[in-house]
Amino acid sequence: MTAIIELDHATIRIGGRTVLADASFTIKTGEFIGVLGPNGAGKTTLMRAILGLLPPSAGRVCVFGRAPQRGDQAIGYLPQLRTVLPDLRVRGLDFIASSMHGERWGLSWHAHADRRIIDETLAAVGARELSQRPMCDMSGGERQRLLLAQSLIGSPKLLLLDEPLISLDARHQEVAIDVVRKVCRERGITVLFSAHELNQLLGTLDRVLYLGNRQAVLGHVDDVVTAPVLSRLYGADINVVRADGHIFVMSHGLDVERADHMHDHAGDGDGHDHHHH
């Protein structure tokens, strides 16, 4: 298997703050990587660097064996920040269509071929019925599936999913993970999947990329999710408790991931949760 993403002593800074310092790791073709770490650890920033939106201030970031190129069609992306225009009754089809060749000039016409691709991709994630429904009437889960379908358009070789589980309930989280796993295994797509909770991804991920304290550790769950490694990344005393096939990352008796998660919802739930039904 060949390397698809390679960081070589890369330092990534954003607004004077060092998010990653001297990080090196290699992600291979076809891997499903769970990206975890405390809030502000740089999960989004790392993805932006891979997208070529943020050049490293030192070291090298390589994607497909070269410096990342902004607008690379081989990368599918589902951003964490998702602007929702609550009053706009735009159909799922039009929403996705807006992203196809959206960088070209001119009027917004879409060929039948484009519509067919959208239809096929929606069908692949089990969301064909969403193409005619207005976005503002969709539930959080439906909208997420639509965005997931969108990120798969153009047959990407690499998929960057930034917190795709946010605003989904437990059942929909599982469905979303299943869909990503199925589609990506079938098509041999490499996936970076950032999340707050490790447990749901345990059965799916090949390796985990844990970020924190300006460091990045890539490896198998058993090697990375351990008390010494996580204590270093969190900069705090961390206990890792394994029970019943689940892993709990605890700090002073508190479940760290769960606490993060709750915090996140209190902070920006409003933006994502408008249309829960």
Partner: protein
Amino acid sequence: MVTTTIIIDMFEYEFMNNAFAAAGIVAVVSGIVGYFLVMRGQTFAGHALSHIGFAGATGAGLIGLAPLWGLLGFTLAAGIVMGLLSDRISNRDVAIGVVLALALGFGLLFLHYYTSFATQATALLFGNVLAVDRAMIATLAVLGAITLAALGLIMRPLIFVSLQPELAEAKGVPLRFISTAFLAIVALAVSECAQIVGVLLVFTLMVGPPAAAQRVTNGLWNGLVLSAGLALSEAWLGLVIAYYTDWPVSFCIAVLSALGYFACLAAPALRADRTQDTHAAHEVAES
């Protein structure tokens, strides 16, 4: 056919013909540009541009230029500046509010020093479509064509950036350029619109119809066509009503615009009620 004669009557006046032509051009441009303005949630920026245009128009009067050129110059400059500062300013209502109040203040100052211009202040603020001449129609047509051509050029990336800015950025769309170009286009449309309904009432053509259209359509192109159609029919119907009642044209258009919006606001709710009612009826029937 009494009505037919009266309507034919109306078109015997050249000023009415001119008014219909000018209002028609401006309404279509406003309805289309306004559609994107509403979609992007930048209506307040459009409002601010029109107020800044007021200062420009009175300033132009002070140095002996036609108000339209002052309007155009000021709104274009302001639109481009707002676009370039977009990360920091364009979505901050307070900053926009302060700037537009300042602009109105300057408008007042210019009026103060050019008192003979004061009679035209009302026309600027509330429009005077009945005073439009042939030359103005030609100017509006050229400006309108430029506005729509520019909008057509950036339409695809504009929609992408409006719906999904984060993804658009990742795909290499120049966000700042698009939003600046768009605000410049809005500035052009505002200047044209102000000629018909006045700077204070540009919302009647640039916000009312598109907002109404977005409530009742799902497709982008349907929405655009409906928005332009609504603006056009409200503008023309406003002229007809004004002709018979002798009420100010801008007032009639403002009322129609509000009625159109509220009607569309109620429409989806009514539809939902009806489906709920049928559901309820079914449940009753089943039990």
